[in-house]
């Protein structure tokens, strides 16, 4: 605190997450173009570039772009098939959309001075709530009241079943919370760590090599985390989908 007043150590790790309007003024309405909407648009543009423009040739021997797109498609397809089962493949486009958007938002956020849209809980909670409501409605449409058997575990002893039912119901409703905060928290924490080390580098002079080495290491880790968190988000969506399609454990 005292050092900050004298202008020595100045670290503002959370400043990078401030939402700013692009064109003047400070007021943010629902229609204001901000840096969040800009970077979201850029990630959507990148998705279109990779998946629509990149595969336009439809070559038998794929070009570089097309083989990356095919790799991503096959990866997500196999994941949905393995985790959600054969009848989950009907919902593959939704999971592919989520995965590819999150991957691009995470990786674009790693560019210095870029804005990480997925570091905002408002963004991830929208996606997580869409999954939560979608899956719940799907479960009730497919199974009617039988969907509630998800909470009534037949394999457990009868005495334990009501207690387990309460635990299951609580864990079911915590799902959107953990689903969204996992992604946002990981992104926000990683980027804040990088900024904190950058703050150390600013005051150490020649000793700044150590924080810079640490930043390099953390950045490498963040590159891994950016992919893994998108993967985890998609795979948990598949798990929730499987629960909705087969509530009988």
């Amino acid at each position: 605190m005292a050092e900050e007043a004298t202008g020595g150590l100045q670290i503002h790790p959370m400043d990078q997450f401030i939402v700013k309007p692009l064109f003047g003024g400070d007021a943010i309405h629902w229609y204001t173009p901000t840096n969040v909407t800009l970077w979201m648009a850029i990630s959507v543009l990148c998705v279109v570039l990779l998946l629509v423009i990149g595969t336009r040739g439809r070559a038998i021997v794929p070009s570089r772009m097309q083989s990356v797109a095919e790799l991503a498609y096959g990866f997500v397809y196999k994941m949905v098939e393995d985790v959600a089962g054969k009848d989950g493949l009907k919902y593959f486009p939704y999971i592919m959309t989520l995965f590819i958007f999150i991957v691009f938002a995470n990786f674009l956020g790693l560019i210095p001075t870029a804005f990480t849209t997925t570091s905002h809980i408002a963004v991830t909670a929208t996606m997580a709530l869409a999954v939560f409501f979608g899956v719940t409605i799907l479960g009730f449409v497919k199974h009617g009241a039988g969907f509630l058997r998800l909470f009534w575990i037949d394999q457990a002893p009868l005495v334990l079943r009501p207690i387990l039912a309460i635990i299951e119901i609580i864990s079911y409703f915590v799902r959107p919370v953990s689903h969204s905060i996992r992604l946002a928290g990981n992104m926000m924490a990683g980027h804040a760590v990088i900024k904190v080390f950058a703050g150390f580098a600013g005051v150490l002079g020649v000793g700044a090599v150590f924080p810079l080495a640490a930043i390099t290491a953390v950045y490498a880790l963040e590159t891994l985390v950016a992919f893994i968190q998108a993967y985890v988000f998609a795979i948990l969506t598949c798990v929730y989908l499987r629960d909705a399609l087969h509530p009988h454990h």
């Binding site: 994941m79 393995d82 953990s178 905060i181 996992r182 928290g185 985890v232 795979i235 948990l236 798990v239």
Partner: protein, 78 residues
Amino acid sequence: MEGDIVQMGAYIGAGLACTGMGGAAVGVGHVVGNYISGALRNPSAAASQTATMFIGIAFAEALGIFSFLVALLLMFAV
């Protein structure tokens, strides 16, 4: 040294909430360690269980993230 005691309590609580990270670290390490020990015993079955490992990591990690959330709430919302 000035400020009010409520803010001090919030900051101390935010610091204490970070101990939850240790629990998540133990959980994630346990999941991955057991996965690797299983994978070394039966490498042919390892590839099919990678997705399960990531789901396990995600669940173990979620509770650590909750402690992070508590810290954030104490810092900015209380």
